[in-house]
């Protein structure tokens, strides 16, 4: 009985922690459109690429990318088409995992009393699984191959269309929104270079090669700019805190259950 009480108390704490973590888009439509936030992406080393991305909940609603090419001092500018939005899959998945966790915790009656420790342990396992996945989605961006980036819908989002020698990728890494721009040049068919297609990576390095259509391409320059999203930082902290709370609850329950089986011989 004591365990049951402890369980509910700690469960509330977990619930509080997860509820406090609100991604600014939970419940699409119910509270009207999510508010827009602008982020200016830059890097401390170079200023060749500047990006202004507008995040609306889990979607990129606007993007402006400026690329300075030092070779011919050309300044390129691309922006999203007005009618298009780009879902940031990582944020959406993380949000969905959290709402699953909340659902797991919330879908019982207020007056419900847990009967056994094992019941709570199983629930905590399920909740922690969701929370871990939510965190992992933010901490581990997808490793994509260059053809996958080229084929992704993101490249088709821009107006005017991206030139064929540019690739763009946007992802979340921990609490940062990252934008990478790859400059490409075609490999000559009779080139003496040994063609070796690059595998999947979060960030490809210059020299990575791939085949796209009938062409063989090589990455000549890579530009990566990023910007911290404050609420993602909060989210990650809350993930860690609630995971620890869950674990502590599990630990407490196992201590109690070992007391139950205790027999002073």
């Amino acid at each position: 009985m004591a365990t049951a009480m402890a369980a509910t108390a700690a469960e509330r704490a977990v619930l509080e922690a997860s509820l406090r973590f609100t991604l600014p888009c939970s419940g699409t439509g119910t509270e009207g459109p999510a508010k827009q936030e602008n982020f200016i992406l830059g890097s401390c080393s170079t200023d060749q690429v500047k990006g202004v991305l507008t995040l609306q909940g889990d979607a990129l609603s606007q993007a402006d990318v400026n690329l300075k090419i030092p070779r011919n001092n050309q300044l390129l500018h691309f922006a999203f088409r007005e009618d298009k939005q780009w879902k940031l899959q990582q944020i959406q998945d993380a949000r969905n995992h959290v709402s699953q966790a909340i659902y797991l915790l919330a879908n019982r009656d207020e007056s419900y009393q847990f009967r056994t420790g094992a019941e709570v342990l199983k629930l905590m396992d399920a909740v922690m699984l969701q929370l871990t996945r939510a965190r992992n989605r933010l901490t581990t961006p997808a490793t994509l191959t260059l053809p996958e980036i080229a084929a992704s819908g993101l490249t088709r989002m821009f107006a005017p269309a991206l030139p064929s020698d540019l690739l763009v990728n946007v992802y979340i890494n921990l609490n940062k929104l990252c934008l990478t721009v790859y400059q490409l040049h075609a490999l000559q068919p009779n080139s003496t270079k040994n063609f070796r297609p690059a595998g999947g990576a979060v960030l490809h390095s210059p020299g990575a090669m791939f085949e796209w259509g009938s062409q063989r391409l090589e990455v000549s320059h890579v530009h990566k700019v990023e910007c911290v999203i404050p609420w993602l930082n909060d989210a990650l902290v809350f993930f860690t805190v609630s995971l620890q709370l869950c674990q502590q609850l599990k630990d407490k329950i196992s201590v109690f259950s070992s007391y139950w089986s205790y027999r002073p011989f």
Binding site: G27, Q89, Y112, L129, R133, T140, L174, G200, V255
Partner: protein, 1112 residues
């Protein structure tokens, strides 16, 4: 796969936990399939009278099962697909429990729907899947490869539930889904098959926001083709399918959460809740009250009947007709389903599965009506059952039940020491029981075995005050450690070092860290001052390192916040690397006991992956028995899933098989006991493993005639002798080893350990070096065991062989036959039927549950207490007998030595039988590997452009024949064997299970043998009439057979060299894994490739060539 491994489960009194997370009833209403949180599937037999009985437990997933669905047109193939939390998918044949296909994709499915459109689709159909990813995946039902996706153009999101709408009126199948955000989307299904197959993007046709979250089910009313039922967790809604206008919303009571629903009939629906209640409603509206007139209206299209959305909305309302409920158990979560069958022998069934493992069925009447006063009627429970009910009904025995004094204790941990044939069981009351495993198994299984009960040798170690949670026998892992040592850890974090021979406590370590969850030993290459160390993982997440020789605790690492998942050793720098459940890594310096580094995230992952000699914690309820050769597969699949999701915490993938450890042991015997512990509970059971190959190898080279088999149920006398010889032998071995070890190292300075004789040995060692090496080599090669152990092992081996035969003989089919077996084979009869394990390829395994044999309706009539695996066995056996060469003309090797004693004759018979069984087993198993082998070899060729050496295969075939022909003179013509070979090859094509084949052959061979025996006895024993007839029939059959064979013979021999590269297969899979590691960057593709081509057609053509006889 260890294809020669046969398993028998010794369940305890308690059933393993089975927390049901998914449930379905097959279309023929004969089987209930449940998936559990523990990762197993359970097949339950459903009788025509709606009685439930558990049949079989299927081991295959290493994580919680999320959903089940049928995977084929059920009338053609009884296949069911299951998906697990970690992305594994398996297709199972639910009639025989075999796994058909397996894939691990980086997707977690929560619902699967089978779709097949015979006239537009080639192949076996699609599995439409949704889950923790965007939109709907289309997976090929046969290969489990992703074909394509249905993409949404508007707000793509995870999909909660889906249903296929098949409307006669529109002549178009549609896919309806509801996303987590509550968006209803519709895709055209049948008309987009072509574009899907051409990999074009298919976008949704319609999309509508439903304004509620947590959708649990969406169902289309096929009766009216008009209504759409959508169940959310807090309400259910009825929509008009024509324009998706809302007709009715019904909100749940407080504390009530809907979990699903189904349409029963026109305007009649059933809704169920998470706590196991269900409600049947009549949806009343204007049309329904119009009665017959409604029917004419419903056929009219919407345009003719105008503006009814609004009108309907005002008129439709639900009226509660009936309800069902479960007693007690309030609040536990249930998974439920409803099966609507309109055909006669079938029922309308509402079914539910609970977390506690209970299944409940309600028979829903065709026309549910309320009581006369209009209040809802309660539908009674028709049937309810749990796994435990099966166990109670069939009085199961655990392996230690017959140990005197064991009585009712609960075993909390156990370990089998194969070198001593000892089973060590830690009990709940703190005692440790040590007993002879073979004898204990016999006492539990065999009829006369109960006589052994009193004489069953056992020891009780008393020292713990709390239940023993983990055991470790260090010598089993490294022969350098003292053979008498045993380590045990208890609930109170006390670890005791025992001498198992003298039963004394050598040392007690008090760790003060909660229950000891596992005891591990550092790998061979890691030593601290020349000794290996013991690693204790405790439940307060701390890790302690114990030094046994020094009897002290070296390090107690206590900083971990999350449970320890993985232990790694860094031999060069003396680091202990601890991986935790939250994906963090802790690096401890062992010498100083300081925390060197703590890393999380990506860096931790790199650190944990860098050391190869990982020591993941023991599996919980994962059955790694057959996984060793295919383990690389799961390991290499891991990156494929992590590339999308990051590391998934799936224990099964990281878990290394404990069986593998046993395999590496110097004494991997023909018999092994695998203790299996379950997750979240103390309940465990044991699996007896018989390695047929090893058994044959041990018995074959020099059939041991000098052992008196009558003595082989060895009493304590022999036991003691055996033990002492074992001790002596290992002593000398140890001496040799240390000597050679000290040579290879710098080593004269090595501390002299417990053996006083070692000194002179080291001095002599230089000269002995050569001899030692040779001896080591001999020891390594399996076939030639050093002399001293031979006799001891022979005893165990023969007993193992007898136990194995006892388990597989079809007792009870024929009384006379039974008696003959007991008399001539010197074996004992089974008490009841055994729970066999069946390994379908790779790491998949099924275990029969107690009482499984009574599930089979037809068998129940004929044989009540019979150890017959299936009815098929008898037919197969007859077929086999008829193919056997005529015994009169061809005396077999075993009959040659008529003049020798009966004992050695018995022994020879056993050896012969086992040999036969092994080759049968190999034959039935080979094609799977063969198929793979060919497949892989082709891939290898394409990769390396290397042809394979044909000589290899040929030599294999000859050795293969050697197996079949063994015991016969060289002049013996092999035609008969070829026909047998053909027959058995055909069996496997008819998907005869290995166990069935083995039993059939065993029955036939033993019958044959008994007949010759009785004939030789001067025909004094009259052969029964039936058998005579049988015999004649057979001869006639044979005659026809012979002529046919003559014709086929050369064609067979021509084609034969194509087949059975038995050992190259293993080599292939190894190099294959190497190849996979090379291309690790694209693991997805590799997995796909592999699953795409199972090499079936190839194998069929081979069959057609070899076996054109009509016999099979």
């Amino acid at each position: 796969m260890r294809c020669s491994l046969q398993a028998v489960a010794l369940w305890g009194k308690k059933a393993p936990p089975h927390s049901i997370t998914a449930i379905m009833i097959t279309d023929d209403q004969q089987t209930i399939v449940t998936g559990s949180q523990e990762g197993q599937l359970c097949l339950w037999n459903l009788s025509p009278e709606l009685k439930i009985s558990a049949k079989e437990l299927l081991f295959g997933h290493s994580a919680s099962v999320t959903c089940l669905a049928k995977a084929r047109d059920f009338s053609k193939q009884p296949y069911v697909v299951s998906a697990a939390e970690n992305g594994e998918m398996c297709v199972w044949n639910v009639t025989n429990g075999q796994r058909v296909e397996k894939a691990t994709l980086p997707y977690r499915h929560t619902a699967i729907c089978y779709y097949h459109c015979s006239f537009r689709m080639t192949g076996e159909g699609w599995l439409l899947c949704c889950g923790e990813y965007q939109d709907v995946l289309i997976i090929d039902a046969k290969s489990l490869a992703v074909i394509h996706t249905f993409i949404s153009s508007q707000s793509p999101d995870w999909i909660n539930c889906l249903c296929i709408v098949h409307s006669m009126r529109i002549q178009e199948d549609s896919l309806l889904v509801v996303s987590v955000a509550g968006e209803l989307k519709v895709w055209d299904l049948s008309s987009s098959i072509n574009s899907i197959q051409e990999k074009q993007d298919v976008y949704e046709k319609e999309s509508k926001f439903l304004d509620s979250l947590n959708c649990r089910a969406i169902r289309f009313c096929t009766y009216t083709e008009r209504l759409l039922l959508v169940v959310f967790s807090k309400c259910w809604k009825v929509y008009d399918y024509c324009d998706f206008s809302l007709l009715r919303t019904e909100v749940s009571r407080s504390g009530q959460f809907f979990a699903g629903g189904e349409v029963l009939a026109a305007h009649r629906i059933i809704i169920w809740t998470e706590d196991g209640h269900s409600f049947i409603y009549q949806l009343l509206n204007r049309w329904a009250q119009m009665g017959a007139a409604y029917k004419t209206f419903s056929g009219l299209s919407k345009s003719i009947y105008p503006a009814d959305g609004r009108v309907l909305k005002e008129t439709i309302y639900p009226h509660l007709l009936c309800s069902t409920s479960v007693q007690e158990n309030k609040g536990l979560s249930f998974v439920m389903g409803y099966m609507n069958e309109r055909k006669e022998p079938f029922y309308k069934i509402l079914f539910s599965g609970e977390v506690s493992g209970r299944i409940t069925l309600w028979h829903i009447p065709d026309v549910p009506v309320s009581k006369f006063d209009g209040s809802p009627r309660e539908i009674p429970i028709t049937a309810t059952w749990t796994l435990q009910d099966n166990f109670d009904k069939h009085h199961t025995m655990s392996i230690i039940d017959h140990v005197p004094g064991a009585g009712t204790v609960i075993v909390t941990s156990s370990e089998y020491v194969s070198s001593l044939d000892k089973l060590i069981c830690g009990c709940e009351d703190g005692t440790i029981l040590i007993t002879q495993a073979l004898n204990a198994a016999k006492a539990g299984l065999l009829e006369g075995g109960s006589l052994l009960k009193d004489s069953l040798p056992h020891k009780v170690l008393k020292g713990h005050h709390q239940s023993v949670t983990s055991l470790l026998y260090p010598h089993g892992l490294s022969s350098k450690l003292d053979q008498s040592w045993l380590l045990s850890g208890d609930q109170d974090s006390c670890v005791i070092l025992w001498n198992i021979f003298t039963e004394e406590v050598l040392h007690k370590f008090f760790l003060e860290a909660g229950p000891v969850t596992s005891l591990l030993m550092s790998p061979e290459n890691f030593r601290l001052r020349s000794d290996q160390v013991i690693c204790c993982v405790c439940s307060d997440h701390s890790v302690a390192l114990l030094h046994l020789e020094g009897k002290r605790c070296l390090l107690h690492a206590r900083k971990h916040l999350f449970p320890v998942r993985m232990i790694k050793w860094h031999p060069v720098e003396n680091f202990l690397i601890v991986g935790c459940a939250d994906d963090s890594a802790y690096i401890w310096e062992i010498e100083t006991g300081t925390l060197e580094r703590h890393e999380t995230g990506e860096r931790a992952r790199i650190i944990l992956n860098c050391c190869d000699d990982s020591q993941p914690l023991k599996p919980e309820f994962a059955l790694p028995v057959t996984s060793e050769t295919h383990k690389h597969k799961s390991v290499e699949q891991r990156p494929s899933s992590s590339c999308q999701f990051g590391p998934i915490p799936c224990p099964g993938l990281q878990v290394e098989s404990s069986w593998k450890v046993a395999d590496v042991k110097p004494f991997s015997g023909p018999f092994n006991v695998l203790p299996v512990k379950t997750r979240w509970s103390d309940i465990g059971f044991h699996i007896l493993l018989f390695d047929l190959e090893n058994l044959v190898e041990l018995l074959l080279p020099t059939p041991v005639c000098d052992v008196d088999p009558s003595n082989s149920f060895y009493g304590s006398e022999i036991l003691r002798r055996a033990k002492s010889t074992v001790e002596k032998k290992t002593l000398t071995l140890k001496r040799n080893k240390t000597a050679s070890g000290s040579l290879s190292a710098e080593a004269q300075a090595k501390p002299v350990s417990e053996n006083p004789a070692q000194g002179e040995n080291t001095a002599k060692s230089l000269g002995d070096n050569e001899g030692i090496k040779r001896q080591k080599k001999i020891k390594n090669s399996k076939k030639m065991h050093p002399k001293p152990s031979r006799k001891v092992e022979a005893n165990i081996t023969i007993d193992t062989a007898k136990l194995f035969l006892s388990c597989f003989l079809p007792w009870g089919v024929d009384k006379e036959f039974d008696n003959l077996c007991i008399k001539h084979l010197d074996i004992l009869k089974l008490q009841g039927s055994v729970s066999l394990g069946l390994a379908s390829n790779e790491d998949h395994f099924s275990l029969m549950l107690p009482g499984w044999d009574l599930c089979n309706a037809e068998m129940k009539k004929d044989y009540s207490k019979v150890n017959l695996f299936s009815k098929k066995v008898l037919d197969l056996s007859n077929k086999y007998t008829s193919t056997l060469p005529n015994q009169v003309g061809m005396p077999r090797g075993l009959e040659n030595n008529c003049d020798s004693s009966q004992e050695s004759n018995t022994l020879n018979t056993i050896v012969y039988l086992l040999n036969r069984l092994f080759s049968v087993n190999k034959l039935v198993n080979t094609p799977l590997e063969l198929a793979c082998g060919i497949d892989r070899s082709f891939k290898m060729e394409s990769v390396h452009n290397k042809a394979r050496i044909p000589g290899n295969e040929i030599s294999n075939i000859s050795s293969f024949y050697g197996y079949l022909r063994n015991g016969k003179s060289e002049s013996h013509i092999p035609e008969a064997d070829i026909s047998l070979l053909k027959l058995i090859s055909c069996w496997r094509d008819q998907s005869v299970q290995v166990t069935e084949a083995i039993q059939a052959v065993l029955l036939a061979e033993v019958q044959q043998h008994m007949k010759t025996l009785s004939k030789r006895a001067g025909n004094s024993q009259p052969v029964s009439m039936t058998e005579d007839v049988h015999c004649e029939m057979r001869q006639i059959l044979q005659e026809t057979e012979w002529t046919r064979e003559e014709v086929e013979l050369h064609c067979t021999t021509d084609t034969l060299p194509l087949q059975t590269p038995v050992s190259p297969v293993k080599h292939d899979s190894d190099s294959n894994s190497a190849k996979f590691q090379d291309t690790e960057d694209m693991p997805d593709r590799c997995v796909l490739e592999e699953s795409e081509s199972p090499g079936k057609p190839r194998h069929h053509s081979w069959i057609a060539k070899v076996c054109s006889c009509k016999l099979c």
